[in-house]
């Protein structure tokens, strides 16, 4: 196989979309860690990162940094709104799985609102730095950089800040954390804000590649969930590995066999892995039930 002509582009775009999927996976995990809820809004946050970035920087003409900060803040707010509207009210009855419905409803609302108020066509996303070209263009490595930055920052936060440790504590044993007097509710809200920011970052960093397009939300939702399922729920490293692997697999299939078969292949692989290892490839076993 010709490296420059096929392998390099597959690697470039595979790692790039893989990094976006991985970050969406981290978004899922971050929400899950403090609430045991998986939210359909995760992918929509990624979509919003692209759309809002384009809105602020291109349409409203703000400077890059202002647009970036506003995008991340707006996505963080959407994350918090998710917690308030779709998660907290159903938290008491987690076993009824009402969160599947409430977050699906909110995700649909976000997507439809964007389709109507923004555009149903993909819109341009600003060229951020103008660095690189070809397979080394910034649009390919920005998502990877964002992914590396996020995972690094998360690890740093968890290891070296008290808030980070508190997140871990709440995630490991919510009840014990509460009994210690940790502000569990605030931490949960904060984790949704953080998840929103991570999702927004994924969409923003991937904006040049994926454009500001409302339908990206649905794509991110599914393809961002696959790494979570593969890597094991709540396992960020698993998500990163799973996301990058998915991106490479998908793009390779895309380039080698064509679009439709690529999605069918991804879906079948997803189902087979899940049925064979419902806890994911890096997951741990289930809790007691009785």
């Amino acid at each position: 196989m010709d490296f420059g002509a096929t392998l390099l582009p597959i690697l470039a775009s595979g790692l790039a979309v893989g990094a976006i999927y991985a970050l969406i996976g981290v978004t899922y995990n971050t929400m899950y860690s403090t609430s045991r809820v998986m939210s359909f809004t995760s992918g929509q946050l990624g979509m919003l990162g692209g759309v809002l970035g384009s809105l602020f920087i291109l349409r409203l003409g703000m400077p890059l940094i202002v647009g970036f900060v506003l995008t991340i803040m707006a996505c963080a707010i959407v994350g918090v709104v998710t917690e308030f509207i779709a998660v907290r009210p159903v938290l008491k009855s987690l076993d009824q799985h009402l969160y599947v419905l409430s977050t699906l409803a909110l995700a649909l609302m976000i997507q439809q609102f964007t389709a109507i108020e923004w555009s149903t066509e993909p819109q341009p996303f600003p060229r951020l730095f103008g660095l690189g070209s070809g397979s080394f263009d910034e649009k390919f490595w920005l998502p990877v950089a964002a992914c590396a930055f996020t995972i690094g920052a998360l690890e740093l936060m968890q290891r070296h800040t008290l808030v980070g440790r508190a997140f871990l504590a709440v995630s490991e044993d919510n009840f014990a954390a509460r009994s210690l007097g940790l502000p569990e509710r605030n931490l949960r809200i904060a984790s949704y804000a953080l998840a929103g920011a991570i999702g927004g970052l994924a969409g923003f960093a991937g904006g040049e590649l994926m454009l500001a397009f409302f339908a990206n939300g649905g794509q991110y939702n599914f393809y961002g969930f696959v790494p979570v399922a593969l890597g094991g729920l709540g396992n960020n490293r698993g998500s990163i590995v799973g996301g990058l692997a998915l991106g490479l697999f998908q793009q390779a299939a895309n380039f080698l066999v064509g679009g439709v078969f690529a999605s069918v292949a991804v879906f079948i692989a997803f189902i087979i892995v899940l049925l064979a290892a419902p806890q994911g490839l890096f997951g741990t076993s289930t809790a007691r039930r009785v």
Partner: protein
């Protein structure tokens, strides 16, 4: 819905004959009203109404099946439009004859039914292994894939250009003719889904949804009960797909939007889980609503989503809850549970067996903690056996090993000569082992009587197909189960609450409901996990005599309990556990004065 065989069984007063009949009519009245409206529509409306009515009928054919999966079994299949797509393409392709020689319309519909059923199963199977959200995602993925394949497989599906849908022969080739046909299919679908819903299958599905652990203890295996409804749901979606194609006149992939999936799904939730009338009304509402709100077309999906959110947060019970007037009537506060142990013989009627339930050298460790450390235990039939010990001594764990929730690392559980399979809780009911739970596991949205009937799910004779078609054995099953459940409820003293929704009951009443449910198996052994917790002193006394009487019927009772007075009042033998081992075992009187035991029980 059989009337009054209960009187003869229990020999007690029950609802008067006429009351049951009028209740039955009040249940059927809404359907009759809908049928009447549907029947007069051709005389008051135009063909536009015919198309909308037809669409509602077709969607309902699908939703009626999906309702059993989502509304009853609680499996969140959100990508069901995929099966509609399959049905539409199957009939169209077969009738068009572009792949194999054209087949007649009825045959094509037969094929759509089969293909729908097969893929209904394929879509559903992951539910047996995957968690809710994962399953929802996998159905979503499946929907995407089916559309993509429809686009790509041009030689069969016509790709984006699509394929001509089959036309119906006269008299069904006019809007009103086709409307009539779809109405009949919808009526049959309603009838079939009601047959399933009001049978042991329907109750088992609801149990899987709301009380999965209890369902297993009652012998309800997910595979056995979900597989038939996945097949049925798929088959009905396949038929709906064929009808949908004809209504559309032409099948293209872009007709099968995700919005349609959302519509089906929301129709069920708006209607209310575990109801048939509710989702039917929901389907009609969601089909008609956009027609009145044409200016809002662009926002329709958004508004559906808002509706979904509002329903989930504000009215989780949906329409069915709003129109459930029966359960609005306040219950009297001053009600007492008055068991009638004398009536137990009608429920249990078991020849005293001679086979003990034995645990031998059972070892079960969680991580490094040995919850059971070589436990030996024999429970004799027809006796009450107490199991006591401090917290964490392994009492409940022992119960869970017997009832199959935990598979111990070592040791065996045997009933007489037969070794029980370790793990596999759903296999215990067939061995005659029933149990209750520390926290009552009840289907809150079902009536008390239905909850009790769940207990004898495995004893039903009618197959799923017989149930679907309301063949005689289904009616027999219902009659027998209902009579037995009424008798069991009377025996535990709750017969007056039979028709009340279970989530309206007090905690103490739920404990007795669980016992009644367990009695439905006529169990050889009954495992009770802290049945007295949360009961008043009087209630505990009544519980005690009920348990004693149960054992006199030949049932062996293993009683895990903290209330020492109850234990020593009714147990013939008592085993004391500590740190997963037997600390002492003997007659109740010996144990009571056993120095070591007293201090262990107090906490030594």
């Amino acid at each position: 819905m059989t009337v009054e065989t209960t009187t003869s069984v229990t020999g007690l007063r029950n609802r008067p004959f006429g009351a049951a009949r009028s209740e039955r009519w009040s249940q059927l009245a809404p359907y009759a009203a809908l049928a009447a409206i549907a029947a007069v529509l051709p005389w008051i409306g135009n063909e536009y109404w015919a198309v909308i009515g037809t669409r509602a009928a077709i969607y309902w054919v699908l939703v009626a099946g999906l309702n059993l999966i989502v509304g009853f079994a609680g499996q969140l299949a959100i990508g069901y439009v995929a099966l509609l797509t399959l049905g539409a393409y199957t009939t169209s392709v077969l009738v068009a004859g572009n792949v194999i020689p054209a087949v007649p319309l009825p045959l094509a519909f037969g094929a759509a039914t089969v293909i729908g059923a097969v893929f209904g199963l394929v879509v559903g199977l992951p539910a047996l292994r995957l968690r809710t959200f994962y399953f929802a995602m996998s159905t979503l993925g499946f929907a995407t894939i089916v559309t993509q394949i429809a686009l790509a497989w041009k030689s069969v599906t016509g790709g984006g250009i699509g394929i001509v849908a089959p036309e119906f022969p006269a008299p069904f080739n006019t809007p009103w003719g086709f409307y009539g046909f779809c109405l009949i299919v919808a009526a049959i679908a309603t009838w079939m889904s009601a047959n399933v819903a009001h049978s042991r299958f329907g109750r088992a599905l609801v149990a899987i949804r709301d009380a999965e652990v209890a369902a297993e203890a009652n012998g309800i295996s997910k595979v056995q009960f979900l597989v038939p409804v996945f097949l049925l749901g798929g088959a009905m979606a396949g038929i709906a797909g064929g009808l949908f194609a004809t209504l559309q006149t032409y099948v293209t992939p872009d007709a099968f939007t995700f919005d349609l999936s959302v519509l089906f799904f929301i129709a069920i939730l708006i209607g209310g889980r575990g109801s048939i009338l509710g989702p039917l009304l929901g389907t009609i509402l969601l089909t008609i609503l956009p027609e009145f709100a044409a200016p809002l077309a662009a926002w329709s999906t958004f508004l559906y989503a808002v509706l979904l959110l509002v329903i989930v947060l504000a009215v989780p019970g949906g329409i069915a809850d709003l129109i459930d007037f029966k359960n609005r009537r306040p219950l009297t506060d001053a009600r007492e549970i008055q068991p009638q142990p004398a009536l137990l013989s009608r429920v249990i009627a078991r020849q005293p067996g001679s086979q003990p339930l034995s645990l031998r050298n059972v070892v079960l460790a969680f991580g490094g903690v040995r919850a059971l450390d070589g436990l030996d235990l024999d429970v004799q039939p027809g006796r009450v056996h107490g199991l006591i010990g401090p917290n964490g001594s392994g009492k409940t764990t022992a119960l869970n090993v017997i009832s199959g929730y935990y598979a111990p690392q070592n040791g065996s559980v045997a009933l007489g000569g037969a070794t029980l399979e370790l793990g596999h809780p759903e296999s215990r009911a067939s061995h005659g082992i029933a149990r209750t739970f520390q926290t009552p596991r009840i289907v809150g949205e079902a009536s008390v009587l239905e909850n009790v009937m769940i207990g004898a799910t495995v004893t039903g004779r009618a197959t799923f197909l017989e149930t679907l078609l309301a063949l005689p054995r289904r009616a027999t099953d219902e009659r027998v189960l209902k009579a037995k459940a009424t008798a069991a409820l009377t025996a535990v003293g709750l017969e007056t609450l039979a028709d009340i929704r279970a989530n309206r009951l007090q905690h103490s009443e739920l404990r007795f409901v669980e016992i009644a449910r367990a009695l439905m198996l006529s169990p050889a052994f009954l495992l009770l996990d802290e049945p007295a917790a949360g009961l008043s002193a009087d209630e505990i006394d009544r519980l005690g005599s009920l348990i004693t009487e149960i054992s006199r019927q030949g049932t062996g009772v293993l009683l895990v309990e903290h209330h020492a007075d109850l234990i020593f009042a009714i147990c013939e033998r008592v085993t004391v556990l500590n740190l997963g081992r037997v600390l002492a075992e003997g007659a109740a009187a010996e144990i009571r004065v056993h120095k070591e035991v007293v201090s262990a029980y107090l906490g030594a």
